[in-house]
Amino acid sequence: MTDSVIIRTDQLKKIYQMGEIEVPALNGVSITIQEGEFVAIMGPSGSGKSTLMNILGCLDSPTDGQYYLDDQDVSKLNRAQLAHIRNEKLGFIFQSYNLLPRMSALENVTLPMMYIKAAAGNQVEMTKKAEELLGIVGLGDRIHHQPKELSGGQQQRVAIARALINDPVLVLADEPTGNLDTKSANEIMEILHNLHQSGRTIVMVTHEPDIAEQTQRIIAVRDGLVELDHTNGRK
């Protein structure tokens, strides 16, 4: 593992304005995540872990503080710039898979390529790369199936392939096993471990301790602050 820093936040604050009342969600979170780390973010509901995840995922901007993603300050970017960052540097895996229902697995996987700013990828290469990724997650024989024809675990595997299509510097997984039975959950964790082994940086939000235990490092969030940050000793 190199020492290259993927995520560095400095006193991240997020305050929601609910009418007259200010509701703080993050009260100054400073974390650093190196390239190749597999990190779990834990915390009870209302702890601010979702807000932190949204900001790390460039879906939201902090009210105050800095967020450097891959050495770039992204805390002050506008919506279009954030969209480009998400497209180029991030891959998302959601609890509810979030596949487009009327598209095949293959079309879902190529979706992010459609929004590449440079519009470089040609159709043939795009398809080839998507097929490859679907092969890696074990769905090589189901590339033309629509999400409704796939099981939850299979849908989540399509989502993983989609998250990897633009070769992101960071994979963000938000409760990736939350909707799955134990067997499927284990399969998904297996894929994530393999990704980690091949050098991917993964940040995963979960509230299941046994899932979190499988990572290298656990960051526990409570009341908008980092409560605990410890390495698991796992490699």
Binding site: G57, D60, Y115
Partner: protein, 411 residues
């Protein structure tokens, strides 16, 4: 995002709900078809009116009596002013480039043949040149000749409708009919001419104008009026000379009637003037129709906006997913704008097809002349596109403004 991809994504989402897309397009289809059909019908009507008027003689100048205050100063004949029979002779003799002159004076009489009685029939007294000037063909027999005009001979030529009503299948030439108290011999029957500028040429009886003056003007006023005429038709040998002839007639008649040139007791108009008056009527009618059609286009546009707004709400999660994987607000906006545009343009194309075939059906089976104007097609299609952009903008903007976090959480 590449334009081709934008179009692909938009068409895919439209074809995935075909019935809804069709229904949404219906408003635009009807609007565009209505614009094209309405313009086709009104230009067809206008062309038909023009043809009809022109069919009653080309290069025609009308001189009509007008009882202006200027005429009261006294003229050749009487103190009431207006045209008299001798004016026609004067025009024929002294105005150059005149090809023919016909005079017209009308009266209304009851006519009888056997036990058939027709009341309030228009009797038109005229001169032998009438057929030439007004380009009406005889179906049977002949028209009035110079001798009959000179001697007020009791002859009559019938319009097609009158001939049919009086005689049916009987051969009319040589028969005698009663007009008022007179017995007239039928010497000719006109071919059908139809209704032109509100005048039914087939429902009239044509007699020598001298007969009208001598025997048929039976009111007190008419008798005093004597050889007064309602209208003098003048045909000009060439279109180029019309203005010159009008000027000459003005000069001649003002001198004869002893009235100032600027306030004459007659007025002169041309075929073109009449066509223009008619066109002005159809023009305002056409503008009204265009408005009605335009409104239906706008209603169609509102339909698109309505469905697009529903679609944005329904697809909130899709929008969130696209945003998460890198779609910018601009990308989302283009996608929905393109969908609205495709709906209106495809609707516009279908509308054009319906408009053209509808116009054809109208002229083929509706007995309504139609002329499909290429300009109307461009106008209708352009309006459809404008409607698409205009009414697609609000929903597209709404979609683009969605917060990805909220959109992803949407059920």
């Amino acid at each position: 995002m590449k334009i081709i991809d934008v179009i692909k994504v938009a068409s895919k989402s439209l074809t995935s709900n075909k019935l809804r897309s069709m229904l949404t397009m219906l408003g635009i289809i009807i609007g565009v078809a209505a614009v094209i059909i309405m313009i086709a019908v009104s230009s067809g009507t206008e062309t038909a009116i023009e043809d009809q008027i022109n069919s009653l003689g080309a290069n025609l100048v009308f001189v009509m009596s007008s009882f202006s205050q200027g005429g009261a100063g006294g003229g050749m004949g009487t103190s009431t002013g207006g045209l008299v029979y001798s004016d026609a002779d004067a025009i024929a003799k002294s105005v150059p480039h005149v090809a023919g002159v016909a005079v017209e004076q009308t009266t209304t009489q009851t006519i009888k043949y056997g036990n058939i009685v027709l009341e309030d029939v228009s009797i038109l007294g005229t001169t032998p040149d009438f057929t030439k000037v007004r380009e009406i063909e005889l179906a049977e027999g002949r028209f009035i000749n110079d001798q009959e005009l000179e001697h007020s001979t009791r002859t009559a030529i019938l319009g097609a409708t009158i001939a049919k009503e009086l005689f049916g299948d009987t051969y009319p030439i040589g028969q005698k009919i009663s007009v008022g108290t007179l017995k007239l011999t039928v010497v000719g029957v006109f071919e059908e001419k139809g209704l032109v500028s509100g005048v039914d040429y087939d429902a009239r009886v044509y007699v020598p104008i001298t007969l009208v003056f001598d025997k048929l003007m039976n009111s007190q006023f008419s008798r005093i009026a004597g050889d007064r005429v309602r209208i003098i038709y003048v045909t000009v040998d060439d279109k180029e000379n019309i203005d010159d002839v009008i000027l000459q007639i003005n000069l001649l008649l003002s001198k004869l009637h002893d009235v100032p040139l600027e306030s004459p007791d007659f007025q002169i108009s041309t075929q073109q003037d009449i066509i223009q008056t008619q066109s002005a009527t159809t023009e305002s009618f056409r503008i009204l129709l265009a408005w009605v059609a335009g409104v239906s286009l706008i209603v169609g546009g509102i339909g698109i906006m309505n469905i697009m707004l529903v679609s944005v709400t329904e697809r909130t999660r899709e929008i969130g997913i696209r945003q998460a994987v890198g779609a910018t607000p601009q990308d989302i906006q283009s996608q929905f704008l393109t969908e609205a545009l495709i709906l209106s343009l495809v609707g516009g194309l279908i509308g054009i097809i319906f408009g053209i075939s509808g116009s054809w059906v109208f002229s083929r089976f509706g007995d309504m002349p139609t002329v499909v104007n290429p300009f109307s097609i461009v106008l209708a299609f352009g309006s459809a596109a404008a409607v698409g952009i205009l009414f697609g903008y609000l929903p597209a903007n709404k979609a683009a403004k969605l917060d990805p976090i909220v959109a992803l959480r949407h059920e």
